[in-house]
Symmetry: C2
Subunit: 359 residues, 2 copies
């Protein structure tokens, strides 16, 4: 089936109703649905409604409990430590980030950590909540281990994404939202499906040596026999792999360790429990340092300088973090959110099963 384009509001409504049909209350269902639809709208389909079926499976099997009460463990005017107790990732993350934004409004800045959570979608979604409030936003999460340290051969960290958002004025914003591994597992799977060789410097096998055949790698990873994806910077110090490894650990420290939860190789999908991932969020008022409008104007200058740079031979343009995603979002609002054919079919199937009309 060919890809389709679905009106964003209708897609959102459908996802909300699907979550509600699984026992999620309306407010939480909106958070869960909005972060998935935002990913598709922003051109990040790997984190979009293609994951809806997994959420529904988790809710129906009881692995995800939509009624659990999250618990505030520690709280100060500048901080919040939350135990999600296995709750859905998006609602507890939205609540925590919103609370931190309110705290930062009064105190200037605030950071929070959430433990025992589940997948929270695109990291940038939460960081971007700071933009309309003249703040800088930060978001990170640890994830199931699939990354191998520089010079290692066993997994020790996840894709551990890091997001940073800073507002502009005429320009939309600078939104960095990056995994700290060189690629994601999803990319390896696509290369396997398409029978393509991996680029050298993406992954190592169970002996820690460069691997380009995705099939055996995925099999070894699935059975936890060793091998995995390498950090941003590749599989050696020569190209800075140790820096990417350091960034992945930094995210693990700010999420898993700082929240008193699991980290590193202890995070993997066990099946019988929540994902046990941890998140960290931050918000900082720009006017602690300078006038926020002046900052926004200066950000415009910075971003416009980059988008107007002459590109390298053979390339069309230079772009900054977030630019492509804002462009995709504008197109999605105008023309509908693009969904791959098989993803759309999975939504229709969900609609039938849950008796929710699919747009």
């Amino acid at each position: 089936m060919d890809s389709v384009k679905i009106n964003k509001e209708e897609l959102l409504k459908f996802c909300v109703k699907a979550f509600e049909a699984c026992g999620v209350n309306p407010a939480d269902a909106l958070d869960c649905a909005d972060v998935l639809v935002a990913a598709d709208a922003r051109g990040i389909p790997s984190h979009g409604v293609a994951r809806l079926q997994r959420y529904i499976n988790g809710l129906q099997s009881g692995l995800m409990d939509p009624h659990v009460e999250t618990e505030i463990i520690r709280e100060t005017p500048v901080s919040l430590m939350v135990d999600a107790r296995g709750a859905l990732g998006a609602p507890v993350s939205c609540q925590t980030m919103n609370s931190l934004l309110d705290k930062a409004e009064k105190s200037g800045m605030a950071f929070g950590a959430v433990r025992n959570s589940n997948h929270y979608g695109i990291a940038g979604y939460y960081a971007m909540k700071a933009l309309s409030r003249d703040m800088i936003g930060i978001s990170m999460t640890n994830t199931a281990a699939l990354g191998v340290p520089t010079f290692g051969k066993q997994v020790m960290f996840g894709t551990n994404p890091l997001a940073f958002a800073a507002p502009a004025n005429r320009e939309k914003a600078f939104v960095l939202d990056m995994s700290t591994t060189v690629v994601t597992r999803g990319k390896i799977e696509i290369y396997d499906r398409d029978k393509k060789s991996l680029k050298p410097g993406w992954a190592v096998d169970k002996d820690g040596l460069t691997v380009t055949d995705p099939g055996p790698l995925l099999d070894d990873m699935f059975h936890r026999r060793g091998g995995g994806i390498v950090p941003l910077g590749g599989d050696s110090e020569t190209s800075g792999g140790h820096k990417g490894f350091g960034l992945a650990m930094m995210v693990d420290i700010m999420t898993g360790v700082l929240s008193g939860s699991a980290w590193g190789a202890d995070i993997y999908d066990k099946g019988e429990s929540s994902a046990r991932v941890s998140h960290c969020f931050g918000a900082m008022k720009i006017n602690l340092f300078m006038d926020a409008l002046e900052f926004r104007h200066n950000m415009d200058k910075m971003l416009e300088d980059i988008r107007s740079m002459s590109p390298a031979a053979g390339h069309e343009r230079v772009y900054f973090a977030g630019q492509k995603e804002f462009e995709a979002e504008a197109l999605s609002l105008a023309e509908g959110v693009p969904l791959a054919g098989n993803v759309y079919q999975s939504l229709r199937k969900i609609g039938q099963e849950l008796a929710v009309e699919c747009p």
Copy 2:
């Protein structure tokens, strides 16, 4: 001349006296000297006393004014915005970080920015000040532009280092201190001197194409004709160069833009002014989130798990960020700080000129 090993205290005293001989007051001279000697002791000679001559040139030519009064522009219980007014980088950075640590002691966390500053040495030095106070420390700075954006051909950002330090108990600490470019200019210069080819994916020429001959590249960079070093992740999206570019911009936003100062291609050594670089520092109390001692114990577990991992075939060990530097420091304390022969000779020359006895 062969390399030498110098007693750390004696090397420090010599550098302090050299700075004092150039009109720097004793407290500031100690800050300037300590960060240089710390770099050599920790195995980072590119940022060590090899730079002493440059500082002395700057002070003697009047480019760096040791008597300038820095100014606090904005201040809250959680923040500090400082105009260094062209002061030496190390003293204003030490004062700012120390003030932030005191603020964090009371408020839980604090961030500060410093503008119109000069080179501040190794970024990790300031982040590590948080370790003994049960805090997480952050430090970053922008630097003279030499980095080319993904798909670009003109420089737009510096090596823009980022440092993050988290304390442990039995283990020393996790200290990430990394440039956000794939390599530094110093490395390109070494390859040029040794007549070696650069690795593909380190730098691009003035057309934005991969370059491996360091000579013409350095010449083009010096004359600002285009070309430069690429971000961590290399010269394409395939290996994540756009992520490194995003990190470099994040550092530039948190330093140059947030402090209302210069950023991007506007930062270069003009000769007639200070380096006009900006820094950002942060400190966060661990007990906002969990008991600090428990955190330190958990960090021990994390770091010991990594250092005891089986290495990849052909490698001796897996290590974490900061480990090699702490090992170098222990060796420097036991056996003396290692200095290359030509660096030691430059110190002797400085000693003769300033009438300060060289150890």
